[in-house]
Symmetry: D2
Subunit: 365 residues, 4 copies
């Protein structure tokens, strides 16, 4: 059963393995006439680049995108857009051991069962964070579509290793600061603390988790669908496709469980001739539809499972307990790279719903 | 664009409005030969019944299911299973006002824009909690399929209005207690506190949120898919289709963001000849695949938006600010009814993946 | 694996069995604000009524549609439209024998294997011509959508039992004559011949096939999609879902195989300021897209397999050869009822593509 | 709205343009452990090679496949299989004129409207016969899957330019002869006549159509689905995605319309302990399910629209009538290349249904 296509209108199909020949993506359903160039996509991919050896994976990666189809003379044609990034030669030998000595909390074990030993295990295969290259490339096109309708997607790290950024960063500060520090955090003071914590965790051969927040502004009212393709359903669906995500919440999220209706309800008012809500506890989504307020969601990332400490595992060949000591260089914390990934994923789903929304406009009876 | 079908193999199509003629569901892809009777489905629907006037909506509902197709002599035939519950006559006049005076934090406003005034607004139409009748009916069939493979889905309230149940209730206590108290909580002492809080909120014309936990046991290793149909993606997708859900997390969820890898990683061991993990921080899902441990997720519900206090809203006709005082009887807290809804939704997705998983077994090269 | 939903935007889900409780359909993706009433749908269903005992099945059927959801005050709401026809009590005992003595050229044998004996065999279950009730009900809504954009679907019998209608009936004559004779043929003289042939076949306990032609006028240029959702792909897909269809062709169809390019090519000219083609050998479809000319297709129906003559079959229980003599009353020729079925199916697919087409208009870059 | 993915289980996604960088395909849902190498795929692609200058397009094409993902050490991994063929540099200037002077019976005109002038028109873009490269590459994998279950797909030209091959060629003769002559015809005498006709048409600057027959042997009973994913529906759907197809029929096809039930019905008998039918008028499909007999279908191809004679067309810029004289070298008849394309398309759909069928086996109640 296929599992590598998502979207109803702006459809994204994934392929590729971490240490295979390439990571690729096919976008189907993009309207013709959208200006898209390789450099537009490259700009987004570059946001995944490790900016500092201590924080992200130190392996040098130069992920260069190539557009294979669907763009003609820098405009989309309406045909499927195919893009790929060729993988460089990696050191894959280290992964062989994980086939029978699964890394704790990595997909090694269920993958071995699911694919009966045929999976390409090198670099984690399809379970690697590198799959988000495809999400980001597709997201670059999605963001151009959104921008044409005045919709912007902003993402930033709000927590790393227990260090929280100041709440409610302004849009301006997010835009200004996020790519000005290696943690992708809008609060520069917190960012500097986060960096220290990450460095400490690295020294301890340990890893750290964190939380990424995404804000979508300029969304028209009534975008989305009820029931099974609600905005939050579709966003959560794709976001959980990002490796290491363990939780998603909209607006006040889990905190809503502790609020009373009178505290949680977003009462309406008129501001500058526009209907707005006094608060945005809902995070911009009601009944699966946008209500015109910024769509706000928070995504929790677990600490990477590949740590350099000795860990207990089992030998799948002998069914005995054993130990594993992973060697090599891994991300101490995925948050900095998760920021562009979350942004891209949200852009993809928003573009999908925007195209449906705009298409719907003239069909009403 | 259609939005009312979900699932790849065990496919669920929804229809019906809160105060329309009925709530219905069509299941497609159910294998032939599964024993299913109307009473199996009715038993699950009865779990939605309000057990106590003070806690759930006091409106008396007798939701009787009728099976229209796909079952012949108490066995599934392999043809689509159609089921519906006829709605009783409701008092719908009160809802007319919400068409132009939208209730804060309800879907009234975006729905008015999305459907251009054509939506059936009575009782909230398709934005009502009554849509979960369809989920529960389909879930009843899903649960029979799961049970045949030794998979069980258990759900309970773990928090209501800030009152938390004791952590880590045993499966046994959950089974014993959940339907023995109106709060659907396995911790009877907490349940009694929750009841009091709910009653108090009712007196204050207010409403309460809460958290529901769902545990799936007996899941084989390797069930699920990578990338876009990961178990967590699909579960989150359908769970966010339940009205009032604002957050979802697997395993330790948001707490994972604050753990170190060395704390969060679930190390493997052998127990009774079986590979298990010492902890279950992952909540049974790695890389979108089951790892054989119980799948554990927590779902946050906001307090119902329909409260009987005066609230600020706007008049959509005149674009002026105004006030709204909702009359009538509404759920103070959706958690008790959310428990069977969450259980059904999880069962639907698990059955979808189980059928794919079992089908896959013999196709391997 | 589900198999009972079709369409990308205007989505149709089928359920029900020939002698089960009902035949039903759920339409998803219909825009709000389309005026639809039960009588609009009933009018289309009435076209399936047997008009004359000698020609169609003599069993009296009064197929009354009920709309269960999605229509509010005679307008579509944008929510799923659910419709059903309750089945009357039928004589089902006769079908029991076919479970182990399969009727030649009926689905009895593969169905027995496919569903392992669990299928509802009564009246042919889901393999009955009654499934087209659902197609016709959905088609009634589709036709209203099409009509609003000036698109009309016309269908007529062009051949029955070897009797051919005169070629190239005018739209006017088709509209005038088709429902004025029991054969649904625009050429009244041929219709009268067809009737005689059908009566003769009936006397001989035999059955007859025929060909139905469908013409869609008013289609804008560029409707459809390339590759996998070409207009002809989608039309053929749904048309082959009608029982007894054995062939489909567009424009000159199979005859095109014998034409030279210089004969087959439809050269362009300007007529009344509009681009048209001098001929319409393509049947209005080029590269999967409409070219503005009428879309013309022909659908071949085999003679019904249930004939009252003694036939050779096998006993599935004993795996021995045996004979079968079907008793009862069956359609001698499905063509008269196939006419509204083909029309509905084509309307469904055209509405699906029209909604996509209209939605696409404003999304272009 | 995306239109470039087909299949439920063995899913094929297309991308690429005739004169763009490449033609590519992504297969999703292929089970792990299937032995597939680049040479397996290349062997199928080579069947598209023009074997003789006079018959097929004289342009030299060396379509070399590259596998980009999903195959590891010559076995499928269960991850998406991505394959592409790089396009060579073509002479594309000649196509510019067709943007405003559409070729009769080619997709130029509806494409210009549909894509608003943004389409990659070079070489026909996505409306070129080169798209079948993707179908054939995917079909190569499908054929390996089918072969493992004893299913074989055979295809041959049965009519070209009015020259018919002898009926009912034996499987043996088809296997032996089809790729031994440039017409891909099992009847060598007819093949030689066809060649002459093609050469004559070439001299006359004209083109020819023809008919391709496909036979699938070894299909188990009960494969397929009722209603919307019937075997014939799915086969017809994909077959109509091949450019130039104008008609499809199963078994006796259109001739069934002229047979009586007593002539058309395939009566059952036992042969070598197996249930078979005395005739195979149904072409192996009953009610959308296979009945164990060979699945037989015939596909009608129109003559290529690009002929070198002067033709009437219009100028889209000035909306005036004009003439067009196409220069260059085009296929006189697509049939020889259509043979591997039809075979691949049928293999893809059969593999899709086979995987569903085999998966279903163990899920029955």
């Amino acid at each position: 059963m296929g599992s590598n296509t998502i979207g109803k209108c702006f459809t994204v199909t994934y392929y590729g393995e971490s240490h295979g020949r390439c990571i690729g993506v096919v976008i189907d359903g993009c309207p013709p006439g959208i200006p898209v160039s390789e450099s537009d996509v490259q700009k987004e991919l570059d946001k995944r680049k490790p900016t500092q050896d201590d924080v992200s994976t130190p392996r040098r990666e130069y992920d260069k995108v190539e557009i294979l189809s669907g763009i003609f003379r820098n405009y989309t044609t309406g045909a499927p857009i195919s893009m790929l990034v060729w993988n460089k030669e990696f050191q894959s030998d280290v992964y062989k051991e994980f086939k029978w000595k699964p890394r704790p909390s990595h997909a090694d074990y269920p993958s071995a069962i699911r694919y009966g030993g045929y999976a390409d295990y090198r670099g984690g295969g399809i379970f690697s964070g590198r799959i988000t290259i495809a999400f980001v490339a597709a997201g670059a096109v999605a963001k151009i579509i959104l921008r044409r309708s005045g919709i912007e997607v902003l993402t930033h790290a709000v927590e790393v290793g227990g260090i929280e950024a100041k709440k409610s960063q302004s849009i301006k500060m997010i835009k200004k600061n996020v790519y000005a520090n290696p943690m992708r955090c809008a609060d520069l003071k917190a960012a500097s603390e986060m960096e220290k914590t990450v460095r400490r965790a690295k020294d301890e051969k340990d890893s750290l988790g964190g939380i990424v927040e995404c804000i979508v502004t300029g969304v028209p009212v009534g975008l989305g669908d009820p029931i099974f393709h609600s905005l939050d359903s579709d966003l959560a669906h794709f976001l959980f496709s990002i490796p290491a995500v363990k939780g998603i919440e909209f607006g006040v999220g889990f905190k809503a469980a502790r609020l009373k209706g009178s505290e949680n309800n977003d009462q309406y008012e008129i501001k500058n001739g526009k209907i707005v809500t006094k608060t945005n506890n809902a995070g911009g989504v009601l009944g699966g539809l946008s209500n015109g307020m910024p769509i706000v969601m928070r995504v929790a990332f677990k600490p990477p499972s590949s740590i350099l400490q000795k860990q207990k595992t089992v030998d799948l060949r002998t069914m005995t307990e054993t130990e594993l000591e992973i060697k090599g260089r891994y991300d101490v914390c995925v948050v900095p790279r998760a920021v562009p990934a979350v942004e891209a994923v949200v852009a993809n789903i928003m573009a999908d719903h925007l195209l449906i929304f705009e298409g719907r406009a003239e069909k009403r009876g």
